[in-house]
Amino acid sequence: MDAARRFRLSAGPIEIAPLHARLRHPAAGACATFEGWVRDHHDGRAVRGLRYEAYAALAEAEGERIVAAALARFDLKAALCVHRVGDLAVGDLAVWVGVASAHRGAAFEACRAIIDEIKRDVPIWKRERYAEGDAGWLHPGEGEGGRGA
């Protein structure tokens, strides 16, 4: 990720170590991270894997806006997010959010706010492959599949 960008899409596995290193700050006493992993089930169905697709231009703009808003709203030293696209297997890392702050309250709240907003606003879609062989796009709406990781 180039140094100025705080959100990006990744077509390959997300490497946590360099992201984590970018959060370090001598005045930071608290670091909260969130990882979304591909689960083996969803809404009672066995999941074999999934595919994430994004509208890349808009997803990167929205993701950057969300992370920048958290930096402005909370008292943070650093915040970063990377989201996978492409094919993932059960257990793979789908999204990583990391936040550093002087104190833990702001770190937890900002990390939670970022993942909540990423899931709500960034144009990325998940296509799950089920054990029975079928697959489907998830378009959470009224009463259906709105409950993510």
């Binding site: 979304g36 994430y52 697709e53 994004a54 509208y55 231009a57 808009l58 997803a59 703009a61 989201h83 789908a94 999204v95 993942i115 990423i118 899931k119 709500r120 606003d121 960034v122 144009p123 990325i124 879609w125 998940k126 296509r127 796009w137 998830l138 378009h139 959470p140 709406g141 599949g145 993510g148 990781a149």
Partner: protein, 80 residues
């Protein structure tokens, strides 16, 4: 009549059978454009469940289609 590019994602792309197409439209607004394309491709998703973007930024359904622009209909997202 405006000529523009429409992008389809996820279930809309599956239903349309294509990821993008060039469209000539005389719709008054982006809402009308979606309804015309929904009728053509048989999209299941009603417009009220979508958002619309123009040239990589969220837009309003009441905006007029602009010739040469890139319009994307955004189904409910499921990242994270």
């Amino acid at each position: 009549m405006s000529r523009l590019t429409v992008l389809y994602f996820a279930s809309l792309r599956d239903a349309a059978g294509l990821a993008e197409e060039t469209v000539d439209t005389d719709a008054a607004d982006l809402a009308g454009l979606y309804e015309a394309l929904r009728a053509r491709h048989g999209f299941a998703l009603p417009r009220k469940r979508l958002r619309v973007a123009v040239d990589g930024a969220f837009a309003c359904w009441g905006d007029a289609p602009r010739a040469g622009s890139e319009v994307a209909f955004i189904p409910p997202v499921s990242g994270g």
